[in-house]
């Protein structure tokens, strides 16, 4: 099975086209407002999406295909499974600087960090309460 490479630029393009068909320049202008600077990343993402059948040409514009609409449903899954580990990775790198005391370790900061973790733990426990383990015969 050939797998499609999906990155943040591709996700942004499909999300924009799910609202309405847009021309190449409208798409790039919208993404530029979100902070995209690289034209080559944009064109490469656009051609990948067209090649893989997520978007198609429509007069002078692009529009989303059925496959693209399905990708929209996949976005929370993609973010959770692929991008979140990257954020954890970055926060782990940042934690290395704790030893260098870039992040303050004063009691106030530690207490608020503890409070934050306790609140997060409560959320996890609430979510876990919704699940029941099933014994398999």
């Amino acid at each position: 099975m050939v797998k499609d490479r999906i990155g943040p630029v591709q996700i942004a393009i499909v999300s924009l086209l799910s609202k309405k068909p847009m021309s190449t320049s409208e798409l790039f202008e919208s993404l530029r407002r979100f902070g995209l600077r690289s034209r080559s990343s944009f064109y490469s993402a656009l051609s990948d999406l067209e090649r893989d059948g997520y978007i198609e040409r429509f007069d002078d514009s692009y529009k989303i295909t059925e496959k693209g609409a399905q990708l929209i449903d996949e976005i929370p899954h993609l973010i959770k499974n692929s991008m979140m580990p990257m954020f954890y990775f970055i926060s782990n790198i940042l934690s290395l600087y704790k030893d260098l005391e870039v992040i303050p370790e004063d009691p106030n900061t530690l207490l608020s960090y503890k409070k934050y973790l306790e609140e997060e733990l409560k959320k996890v426990e609430e979510k876990l309460k919704k699940w029941k383990k099933i014994e398999i015969e």
Binding site: K3, D4, R5, G7, P8, E74, M83, K132, I134, I136
Partner: protein, 104 residues
């Protein structure tokens, strides 16, 4: 200073871990059959919530493989039972509010 950029490239790999399964919806229950070839019963974990089933399993003999499956059902469920035999996991999830009436 040049600001570093991080590019996230990911793959849609849901099909790599999702086992094959079928759902048969009846009036008062769901029957879900999941194929888990080569998996031992003790390596399967099964959970249910108000209207979902979550399964994780590992095949540790031969070609190792990890399975993950979450099924969201339209109706709320209760009284979930599961049986594993010959690589097939059969899950019976009764729809909430339905009770079986015994006919004399």
């Amino acid at each position: 200073m040049r600001i570093p950029t991080i590019s996230f490239i990911t793959r849609i790999d849901k099909e790599d871990t999702e086992p094959r399964y079928v759902i048969n919806e009846k009036a008062d229950f769901y029957e879900i059959i999941v194929e888990l070839p080569g998996v031992k019963k003790e390596d399967i974990e099964l959970y249910s919530s108000e209207n979902s089933i979550y399964l994780s399993a590992k095949r540790i003999v031969g070609f190792q493989k990890e399975y993950k499956l979450r099924i969201n059902l339209e109706s709320k469920i209760e009284d979930v039972k599961a049986k594993y035999e010959n690589g097939l996991l059969e899950i019976i999830a009764r729809k909430k509010g339905f009770t079986k009436i015994k006919i004399d």
